[in-house]
Amino acid sequence: MNRVVITGMGTVSPFGIGKDALLNGLTNGESGIIHLDDLEAIAGLHSHVGGKVPNYDPKVIARKKRRTMSAMSIFAVLAAQEALEQAGLTEEDRIAPKTGLSVSSTIGSVQTMEKFFSTFLEGWSIEAIKSTEFFKIMNHSVAANLAGYFQICGRVIAPSSACSTGCQSIALAAEAIMTGRQEIMLCGGTDELHPLTNGTFDIIEAATTGYNDQPTETPRPFDEARDGIACAEGSGILVLESLDHAKARGATILAELSGFASTADPANMASPSATAIGRCMEVALQDAGIAPSEVDYINAHATGTRLGDAAESQAIASLFGDKPMVSSLKGNLGHTMAASGAIEMICTIAMMNKGVVFPTRNLVNIADDCAGVNHVQKTAHQTVSTAIKNNFALGGINTSIVLRGYND
């Protein structure tokens, strides 16, 4: 099996375009969650906060490339551009068949679906439907748009698994490199916020609703006053590469992806289980060939829901005890959906490289059902050699990735 390393990372987040904006926001403990006025007009919707990408200019992408892109593809292009620049790949490497792509979203563009169906249902007619609408709605819209934009010729896959999309896409990219099918993979997740994103979680009573007047106070992962998810948007894209390929071209190695697990919890569509989450992390550790005691830090999926945070805490406590530091970045970023696993993995690698662990914003009073783990409540200046990134989804799709600082 080939060893897999990360050589490039790029993001678009509620803190803006690029890693610097994101890491500055986290370093300063800021929140990207704001009140969204337009959500108040929707009958029955109680969650009026979210994280939006501020001030981006879609026109940096040429019209003929952009015309098939909704916001989620535009975010992914901007993030991928940053990742590719950091990786320093030549155009020759990028467009060769050895380079593939594994990027997806939770769903095709809902903004475009709204427009499409508004037009269609108004007169039960397709006469006013434009040619490019479908290209924004199809399930692999982002993957196809990215491949077209960057002229990717290797395998292009769009693994969609709701909120686990980001890490599952990264894991499948790693697998393609481990097995020698590809040398380089662009991978990650992306999503755009639509009122129905909030609506989806509000309907199943998993969205935050009690902090509409204090948006920066939510979500509150692991806190006793947590009341649900604050939905957000963004993109996280990484360049994965076989160690041999990275070394041969003299690339700077940011971290090694030393193992992962993608497991299912078929018991319930919406209720997470500590047992299933624990099994996922355990399989990831076995894949990486390391013991639980070697893990320094766990970047939790913890979204701020009652059930999810408790199940993840219990799983961590059971497998690791209270040694590894644990934090969730959703207190800052909200839940960036398909992007969350990728954005937060990028942050985790940045933390490993900087020797710092960002705390869980809004975690003031640790809830009883989230106790028993080493919650980080203020910035910790600690060496992190080995970390786990968790990423879970409705439908019981769980993903855990093991990251290690690179040692030859």
Binding site: K59, K64, A128, K130, S131
Partner: protein
Amino acid sequence: MTDAEVIQLVNEMLAEEFELEMEDMKPEAQFREDLDLDSLDAVDMVVLLEQQFKFKIKKDEAFKRIRSLGDLHEYVLEKKAALESEA
């Protein structure tokens, strides 16, 4: 609406939709070579013109033969006149 006004409106609509410069909207401009428009753009052009002028273009072989902006101006003026004479 005069013919000149119709041509001006068509040019403005296309310039906005396809992010073109008004100074490039000359009758001799070829859609493919000069304005860099392709078959997907042609589909959207049909939608725009049908919505604006309320005549049908889709499946019209005459539209498929259009190559330049001048051809389009002529086509729109003819379709518009035919629609008005029917009315």
